[in-house]
Symmetry: C3
Subunit: 379 residues, 3 copies
């Protein structure tokens, strides 16, 4: 009978942070564990945790596990009673879940004893103490290893790293170097996607199929489509659709929605903006607080001026507009469909659809100036 329910104890650690809440590669050990439990089929969990750590602990669980977090004896009894005759997985100490890969890391596993057992909910219901119940009725669970001391955590780092990367590789992800790729267990990556060295994928990041990610790319809670390439860039709390190229050296800050067939090129920052399909933002540009349509071309050095020392305002750019290089768009402002803004202009008023907008001075050349002038190249 598949075990679908777990009881997990987080213990106080003599004024230190509990081991399960300490981090390995920036991610709490509990996150590594809870995602392992989910992969085993656990979908309900009773988390018994000191009050002051409850919020932190709850944040470590994936949505796939219905979580009851409590330290209250009645709530605990209620949870166990509701499990009736189910088998439960009971974890009483900090453990690492090696799951189906435990054979690969056999030398790192020892007896876990009562640290991770299965036992029937009914046995738990009728026992005075968990320990004695497990001792009497528990069956040691397979594929776990106990972490007794915080200073063992560094040794688990290379193992946890590879554990999840191997699973991704089994699912068709191509990983250049298992030693130089950091993927949280809560991340999903589609088949055919290539992860180059220095890739860090965190949180609830989801990546589609046939993407190329890296080198040196950090994604946190990012949602990436298919056939998209993210090169040497950082993306936070944003989505990027299909066949889009980001970077090298781009920075997408929270709350962006980037469409398909888009280019977000080098030295480009996008923040709190929507950029629709087919738009090219090739280089040295800042798009903030903006709603950007389809098939727009941004010249190099464009700035959406969203802040006037008092408030932030939005910029709207409609489909097929062309924004010249080194242009300022001073928000609030709307650039109409198909409009053309001449390079070097500072735009303070709306630009009607299909208009040319220009704000610049005629060039004047003073001949033989260099020859007569003292401003010469330093030797």
């Amino acid at each position: 009978m598949a075990v679908k329910s777990a009881v997990l104890f987080i213990l106080n650690n003599e004024n230190n942070r509990p081991i399960l809440l300490q981090r390995v590669m920036g991610t709490p050990l509990l996150t590594w564990l809870s995602n392992g439990l989910s992969a085993r089929g656990i979908c309900r969990c009773l988390l018994i945790c000191p009050e002051q750590f409850a919020e932190q602990a709850k944040a470590c669980f994936p949505d796939s596990i219905a979580l009851t977090c409590t330290a209250d004896q009645n709530d605990i009894s209620g949870f166990i009673a509701s499990e009736q005759d189910e088998e439960m997985l009971v974890i009483t100490k900090p453990v690492v879940d090696l799951g189906s890969k435990s054979a690969l890391f056999a030398e790192d596993c020892a007896d876990v004893g009562l640290a991770a057992c299965t036992v029937s909910a009914s046995a738990l219901q009728t026992s005075d103490s968990v320990e004695s119940c497990l001792a009497a009725h528990g069956t040691e669970a397979e594929g776990f290893a106990v972490v007794s001391e915080p200073d063992e955590l560094p040794d688990w780092q290379p193992i946890l790293k590879r554990l999840y990367l191997y699973e991704l590789a089994n699912n068709g992800v191509e990983i250049w170097d298992y030693d130089n790729c950091y993927v949280d267990p809560s991340v999903r990556v589609g088949a055919g996607t290539v992860l180059m060295p220095g890739t860090i994928l965190r949180g609830k990041t989801v990546i589609g199929e046939n993407c190329t990610i890296g080198p040196n790319t950090l994604l946190e809670n990012a949602v990436i489509g298919n056939h998209t390439k993210i090169n040497a860039s950082q993306i936070f709390e944003s989505s990027v659709a299909d066949h889009t190229a980001v970077g090298p050296f781009a920075y997408i800050r929270p709350n962006c929605r980037i469409g398909s067939d888009v280019k977000i090129g080098d030295f480009v920052e996008v923040k709190n903006s929507v950029i629709d399909d087919g738009t090219k933002v090739s280089h040295l540009t800042y798009i903030g607080d903006s709603d950007v349509g389809k098939r727009i071309n941004f010249g190099c050095g464009t700035v959406t001026v969203n802040y006037d020392r008092a408030k932030k305002f939005r910029t709207v750019i409609e489909d097929d507009a062309f924004i010249g290089c080194n242009t300022n768009l001073i928000a609030p402002v709307t650039v109409g469909e198909g409009a053309y803004i001449a390079a070097g202009s500072t735009i303070t008023e709306n630009v009607p659809a299909n208009s040319l907008s220009i704000a610049r001075v005629r060039q004047s050349n003073k001949e033989n100036w260099s020859t007569n002038n003292k401003v010469k190249e330093k030797k």
Copy 2:
């Protein structure tokens, strides 16, 4: 007698890509193998390969090997006949070539049996089947290991990585960390050059002597001179000469030719351009489709405006010109020798040699404006 000729079989892999065409660190196993063969002195190769993989397979070979790729029995016989009494290296299964470093990885090598043998061309000519010929006359070749299954490839990743890095180190290249440096076997690196962590060198990249490359630098088909420093940058299909500094955070796109004593600084993109000796492009600049002379100084924020929504045009800048900060050069345009462009100008017409060119508005100050104005710093 040195073996100079090889026969290599690429086998169909049940609808999957043949193992030799699968990638390790982004590079087909066949590229690793063919470069190993070249290092052994192989200079002629008969590649027997299914039609649909021929192009891909041929692209894996270095120029040093004269390649005959065919699946035609007459062509095969012709090739072997032309070898007369030569000894040939015959590779019948996917193998890794550990070459002279095989002792270092002895534990990873097993008997290769008939997977890699030497045999005389004359024996091959008179045999009905390769297998029986090798069984009767072949001598197992040394330094190879068989890859039986695609899922063994990840295990070869750290070995192939180190194998070629050790060879570079023997030739005087200084490698910070053998675990964090990725060099295709087709790449050449000169003595005294330092490779810092996160360096990725791909394709036909050639690097001279006494360079510093990295950290976190990606070069693909780049040709770099001597005493040049490339820091945290990416360069594709371009050349950079001697004593030049690139980066940190520069991006050189295909078809650039960068001279000596040049600075391509931070947040600079160069594309499809020539930049001659002694020119400084220090920061936040885009140079595209341009012909740039010697000893030119580019101010920060310069943009060559090469695209007008319809066509791309070239910019020409002659020797000793000085380009002010935040300047637009709207192509097609020529800036003459020794000309000086004032900061903040948008240049639409040619600038004669030694002229000062300026296109900007006089500054006006409105006193006590902040004190009277509502635009105040948000608290």
Copy 3:
């Protein structure tokens, strides 16, 4: 009795650089050794070194060791005489100091014999040769390993790397990946600081507590306060105070002093400048040769124009000023307290306190221009 004094021989290496001066991860083996000696409590050292290597060797020692570097027999005798009855640590060959971590790397250690011994200064004084003195009176020192050949250095790379990282971890530094973090032994890092992958800390860099450094960050002789975050950036010979955020993709060049609660954002270069508390330089900006006050907001694309082809000049910006986007500040120039510079302005004259300064052209819109014009999007 604690040994506080050492004698260290650097030997000529047959026309090659002496092994102790060869580099491991970019840092001479002698730097790794001298910092180990300092950690053992050595505070005086006699360095016996060929003249031509003296400067290079002296640069490898921490300030905590009073160094006498000489090859002169009288100076040597004087040093030893001044030690009177002290025990001395004598190192006669190139060694690695594994210190208290030697048990962890036991398999890498062999007998060091007379390569590292303790002996009394008085015994040394009365002996004809160091070798015979050590043979007769020396006690083998613990925790050292001999490096006999330069080609053993690559094998020491992963050990030296981990050796110092373990020490940092013992002091409360959180290290994501011990295999992908490069910290010179001369660097100090405070408790609670997190080092992400690809972090390189060099020279006399000092980092406070509770910082986050990395990924892919290079600091060289940088001094960082507490609670500061440096993301994917490079800093050289500069200081950054508390609660400041740098990057991603920022470049701080030598001689900068950055205050607290500052933001140095993406694609920002700062050079030879002071930036005071609370100032925000969010993106795509160059600040060079400038004195910048408190609580200033720099718009995107600001450039301090510090060079006119002949000389460099300074820019002064006083507290609470607001610098609009894509602005040029042509030095020498002063922007007064609370002044406001409109976006797109090129500022050539001083701006009085609380003034609005503006230098731009009124926008003109030509309606239906796109519809009538040939400049259309290329398909």
